[in-house]
């Protein structure tokens, strides 16, 4: 009896495997790969959309976009390993952690795979170049100015970041702090805490509430992460709190909260275009594989109509490609942009 049941089990499994196989249907060799931070995140989906658009525009079909199951390094390594085993030529990756991927990326490098990063960087030795969505300096400046403006020039503000290890959030926050320290204009602004919501809606919600409870005189929260800013916006708007919000957010997610009146929690916010970032990563991948650039600073390549240049990351000899300055979303343009991404 057990035998028959076991055979049934085997059959069920075989069917399941082949069913899932046909579902994916990626035949042929894969050359270009994009690995995002995790499945589900709308921002990541937009990056993927841009990557796909650029590849399609170049007539390249041998590419794959992989969203790891969860926003963990473990899941990301699993995905990268399977790409290495498939023998891809380049991997563009938005790293979940700056340190943890190094062993995996080294073994990819050893197999001659071109590694580039976008959105969040890894240790510079582990990649050829980094597609930077916005210059650190520019983002820091835009955010601290927004805080200054919304707070009315003085008062307490807090930052709700992703994780304490998130490379770009940390860079932006550092830049904000440096700019604020350098100019006496910002001397009356007081940063009370940098809280971490780990890019989870729930934890971000909890952290926002904790900030409100802890600091009664809080005027502004600045959240330089799309997940954090959306969670904080909901908390503030639901509570009809007098605390206002700014940061980096997706227009489609934030449209409900953007407005100049008391009913809305966010007067304005910033972001670059993740679709463009995805496109940039795609063109950079192609350029690396074709040998147009080799990852050293000074090289140039064409992305559609625009020509991009590899610049040096401050304090290192590694390169990065800067997408452009952040874009401001306010009540006047949000309705239009929320349809785009």
């Amino acid at each position: 009896m057990k035998k028959i049941l076991a055979l049934v089990l085997v059959a069920v499994m075989a069917v399941a495997i082949f069913a899932s196989c046909t579902q994916s249907g990626t035949g042929g060799g894969v050359e270009y790969a994009l690995v995002t931070k995790a499945a589900g995140n709308a921002y990541n989906e937009k990056e993927a959309e841009g990557f796909k658009a650029a590849m399609d525009a170049q007539g390249i079909t041998s590419y794959v976009i992989k969203h790891p199951e969860k926003a963990t390094v473990d899941a990301q390594i699993q995905v990268i390993n399977s790409l290495i085993a498939q023998g891809v030529k380049s991997i563009a990756i938005a790293a979940n952690d700056a340190n943890a991927l190094s062993a995996t990326l080294k073994s990819a490098k050893a197999k001659g795979i071109k590694i580039l990063t976008l959105d969040s960087d890894v240790a510079v030795a582990d990649r050829l170049t980094f597609c930077n969505q916005a210059g650190v300096q520019e983002v820091g400046q835009a955010l601290i100015d927004a805080v200054y403006d919304i707070a009315g020039g003085e008062g307490d503000y807090a930052i709700l970041s992703a994780t304490s290890q998130a490379t770009n959030q940390n860079a932006w926050i550092d830049a904000m702090k440096k700019i604020a320290a350098a100019d006496s204009k910002y001397s009356k602004l007081n940063l009370v805490e940098v809280a971490y919501g780990d890019d989870e809606p729930q934890k971000s919600t909890d952290q926002t509430q904790a900030l409100l409870t802890k600091y009664q005189n809080l005027k502004v929260i600045c959240a330089p992460t799309t997940v954090g800013v959306a969670a904080a916006a909901k908390v503030l708007q639901d509570k009809k709190s007098s605390v206002k919000l700014t940061g980096l957010g997706l227009p489609s997610e934030m449209a409900a909260y953007i407005g100049d009146d008391a009913d809305h929690s966010c007067p304005y916010m910033f972001l670059w275009n993740p679709i463009d970032l995805g496109k940039l990563a795609a063109y950079a991948s192609i350029a690396l594989v074709k040998g147009e650039i080799d990852g050293t600073a000074g090289g140039t390549f064409k992305a559609g109509e625009t020509t991009y240049k590899l610049t040096t990351v401050e304090g290192t000899n590694a390169s990065e490609i800067i997408l452009g300055p952040p874009f401001k979303f306010d009540p006047s343009n949000i309705a239009e942009w929320k349809k785009v991404y």
């Binding site: 009896m1 057990k2 035998k3 075989a14 473990d74 390993n81 340190n99």
Partner: protein, 335 residues
């Protein structure tokens, strides 16, 4: 030396090849081969090199399958192993970053694991009426909590040294970790099926009170097994560090306990204790590893794999339930 009535009792085991093949382990081997064949058909990258390349990351969990099988055979459960791996990896990182030599790093890592396991064992043997599920749930949160306090929430602690790289190398096409897993598997199999230690485990799992009356130090055995689970979790952490050279308190080893329990149960080990063997658990673990690799290579969403494992788990347990019910019916019809 027959008794008064002169009745004799047979002492020859009744083994048959057919029975072995038709056992659950036999079925697992068939499934394992089916997965390999299906993988080969589906993906051109599913070659020996490809599989071996992807294996190390998945194989680490197998270290914990063996001691977990021991725990389950005793009729208990340990859901803190993932956290123990996390904490051991943390101490290993601290030790390595402090510049300690590799042997010392390894000792510190393994000692952390044993200490954590021993804490489980201590609490559970000091107050045997506590359910293992709740105690290890508590320590699960505590161990990870300690790692969190040490590392910081959401941050990662980098293993800042190359000295683990010998463990990440290959012997021909075979990764070192695979060889170590095989060796460990063999050791644990011998321990369970050939030694008095293993016999005691089955005795405890089948009837704890009778085991005590037969002179088995039940609490001593439990303590040893939980400490062993800690040790193997630390070994898992060590090898995982070669793959993921940084520890995040909320990620490292997370969910391992459930994956490992699933492998054990799929391998025919009953959570009620006293039943199952390591060969089944090992093959089940390898099947799941290869399934993950195969589906990963054809770019199937990892969640599909999760669903398949869930279905396999329930179906495999259902089969034994159903076959029992059917066997009973059959017997009834005979009489």
């Amino acid at each position: 030396m027959a008794g008064k009535s002169g009745r004799t009792i047979s002492a020859t085991p009744n083994r048959s090849f057919l029975k072995t093949v038709l056992s659950w382990e036999g079925a697992l081997v068939v499934i394992f081969i089916a997965v390999l064949v299906a993988g080969r058909i589906m993906s051109p990258s599913f070659t020996l090199d490809g599989v071996m390349f992807m294996m190390p990351q998945h194989l680490c969990q197998l270290f914990i399958v063996f001691p977990m099988a021991f725990v389950l055979i005793m009729g208990e459960i340990d859901i803190s192993v993932g956290s123990i791996a996390c904490l051991s990896a943390t101490t290993a990182c601290l030790a390595a970053n402090a510049g300690l030599p590799l042997p010392l790093v390894i000792i510190i890592c393994l000692a952390t694991g044993v200490a954590c396991g021993a804490l489980n064992g201590f609490v559970l043997t000091k107050w045997p009426e506590l359910p293992p599920m709740i105690v290890t749930l508590g320590t699960q949160i505590i161990f990870r909590g300690i790692a969190e306090v040490v590392i910081g929430a959401g941050s990662s602690l980098k293993y800042d040294s190359d000295n683990l790289s010998p463990f990440a190398t290959y012997l021909g096409p075979v990764p070192i970790v695979f060889i170590v897993v095989i060796v460990v598997a063999a050791l644990f199999m011998v321990l369970l099926s050939r030694t008095t230690f293993g016999r005691r485990l089955y005795a405890i799992g089948s009837n704890r009170i009778a085991a005590k009356y037969a002179g088995i130090g039940v609490n001593r055995m439990r303590f040893i097994v939980y400490a062993l689970a800690g040790l193997m979790a630390a070994l898992c952490a060590l090898f995982l560090l070669t793959q993921i050279p940084a520890v995040k308190s909320d990620e490292f080893g997370k969910g391992f306990e459930m994956n490992v329990i699933a492998m054990c149960v799929f391998g025919g080990i009953a959570t009620t204790g006293g039943k199952g063997n390591l060969f089944g658990a090992f093959i089940a673990g390898m099947t799941i590893v290869c399934l993950r690799i195969a589906l990963g290579l054809v770019n199937v969403n990892d969640n599909v794999i999760t669903i398949i494992i869930g279905v396999l788990l329930i179906v495999s347990v259902l089969i034994s339930g159903i076959s029992q019910i059917l066997a009973r019916r059959k017997l009834k019809n005979k009489t």
